[in-house]
């Protein structure tokens, strides 16, 4: 198995698996939403989905296109204003797991979603910007980053630091007063990277079935280190695939 639909599915399923022990989860649109809703169907029916639009405890039957879709509000335990969401619930430390994606990610799991250089003579390519990401990364108990593996995405140097992961290394989060543990895993379509506790540098800890370590290295923009033992992701179970399909076709 290489980059492609198989890897993408394992990225989604792995992200859902990572939510097995979470009580509350801050959800963005796209893959995070798929993973969180899949986790609710598979193994964590009590998982509380929180959307930055002010939704606490959404129980959507199908995947929303936007974080403000009507069904999220209609199925919520309660709705709060956006300022309250960010102050009392996110900054208040009420969310166990946050999901983020990235246009660029560096080896310390810092994130750029603001702009990317496009070479001499061209203006930087504009991206959407920060949204909720900087404070999700700061305040959630832990953060899972999901993105497709490519040397353009996992880069040596960010063109802009939108969201702090582990800064320049251990101690930076504490120095900046951040209370959550920060990014604990980067789940891609090739495997999983986790920060080395000693250096806070992302190392390869897991490859998806059929993916070689060399393949992951080639798809990474910095000289990727690997854990002493690189595990192979358990292949999707029948149930996982069925529920994922059901979710996507609902």
């Amino acid at each position: 198995m290489s980059e492609g639909p198989g890897g993408a599915v394992l990225m989604e399923i792995n992200a859902a698996r990572a939510l097995a022990g979470a009580r509350t989860c801050f959800v963005g649109i796209g893959l995070p939403s798929t993973a969180a809703n899949l986790a609710r169907r598979l193994h964590n029916p009590g998982l509380v989905l929180i959307y930055e639009s002010g939704v606490i405890g959404a129980k959507p039957s199908r995947l929303p296109l936007s974080i403000g879709d009507g069904e999220l509000a209609e199925t919520a335990d309660t709705l709060v204003s956006v300022p309250e969401m960010f102050s009392y619930w996110l900054q208040g430390g009420r969310v166990d797991v946050g999901f983020l994606s990235a246009a660029q990610l560096d080896r310390h799991a810092n994130i750029n979603t603001t702009e990317v250089d496009r070479g001499p003579g061209r203006p930087p390519g504009r991206l959407p910007g920060a949204g909720g990401a900087p404070e999700i990364a700061a305040h959630c108990g832990e953060v899972l980053i999901v993105l497709r593996h490519s040397p353009r995405a996992l880069v040596e140097h960010l063109d802009f630091v939108t969201t702090l992961g582990h800064g320049a290394g251990p101690g930076d989060r504490a120095r900046y007063g951040m209370r959550g543990r920060g990014p604990t895993a980067v789940i891609t379509d090739l495997g999983v990277l986790r920060p080395d506790p000693a250096t806070a540098e992302l190392v390869l800890t897991q490859v998806h079935p059929g993916v070689s370590v060399e393949q992951v290295r080639e798809a990474t923009g910095w000289p990727l280190r690997t854990a002493d033992r690189v595990e192979v992701t358990a292949p999707p179970t029948e149930t996982e695939l069925v529920e994922l399909n059901a979710l996507k076709s609902a």
């Binding site: 403000g68 879709d69 009507g70 204003s81 007063g177 951040m178």
Partner: protein, 267 residues
């Protein structure tokens, strides 16, 4: 007390060239009809404030009416880029667009400070990121009790805030429900307030989760059924997700966009 009036007159009276304007709505209740009226009237040199400048601001920017954008996330939710926004930022077309860029938490706090008539608000945020080097509206303060360094963000106080709501009564009291976003704060932070509503009712019937804005904090109410389309008004309409997807195609090309502008707005 809010006056019930036509959208055209209300926009002409309340929004002027050079104003700082917030049109809020977090996916839900976005005041598209009012935005299109601004385009029709050619009100220009605007500083636009909005946490999520989505398609409505893409249209205003593409029409060349904005000189500056104050925001925290500029995308087409669930679809992709805002191409008119990108074209303005990357290529200065149809005119350069100055940016004051924040995180959502920062913007939410800026509105809260504005509504509270405080010059700034505090949050834990921004530290270690590149934002503070690009804007003059982020700074730091130290807690006088613990010494801890915290982020400070300057208040926003729009000249005009425009929102869409489900209902108003004859005295201009406004009720909105469902996702309420940052609308209350945006209204209370502003000098002038225009609310478009789905319908006028004899009496507002209290609803779970509703935000009620007394008529005396609103300048004008305009009845514009469907005024949030392609966004939606809970209880009245559904989000037109196809429109958002189609916008990707329309907005990608300057000529197609200009054609759309003529056909669908300025007519």
């Amino acid at each position: 007390m809010a006056e019930i009036r036509g959208l055209r007159d209300a926009v002409a009276d309340l929004i002027h060239d050079g104003d700082t304007v917030a049109m809020e709505g977090f996916t839900h209740l976005i005041p598209f009809a009012a935005g299109h009226e601004v385009i029709r009237q050619g009100i220009t040199d605007l500083t636009l404030i909005r946490m999520t400048p989505d398609v409505i601001y893409d249209q205003l920017i593409g029409a060349g009416l904005a000189r500056k954008l104050v925001f925290s996330w500029g995308g087409n939710p669930g679809v992709g880029s805002l191409h008119r926004f990108r074209d303005a930022v990357e290529n200065g077309w149809p005119r350069p667009l100055e940016l004051d860029e924040h995180s959502h938490a920062g913007m939410a706090n800026r509105y809260t400070a504005g509504a509270s008539r405080m010059p700034f608000a505090l949050l834990r945020g921004y530290r270690g990121t590149g934002h503070d080097r690009r804007t003059t509206t982020v700074s730091t303060v130290n807690c006088p009790f613990t010494g801890e360094e915290l982020a400070a963000v300057a208040a926003v106080n729009p000249d005009v805030t425009v929102i869409h709501a489900q209902q108003a009564d004859l005295e201009g009291n406004v009720q909105l429900w469902g996702l309420a976003g940052v609308q209350k704060e945006a209204v209370l932070a502003a000098d002038r307030v225009l609310v478009t509503v789905e319908e006028l009712v004899r009496e507002l019937e209290p609803r779970p989760g509703a935000v009620v804005l007394p008529g005396w904090v609103v300048d004008a109410v305009a009845v514009v059924p469907g005024g949030a389309h392609p966004s939606y008004a809970a209880g009245y309409s559904e989000r037109d997700n196809d429109y958002y997807r189609e916008w990707d195609r329309v907005s990608r090309d300057r000529e197609v966009f200009c054609q759309w502008l003529k056909e669908c707005v300025t007519g």
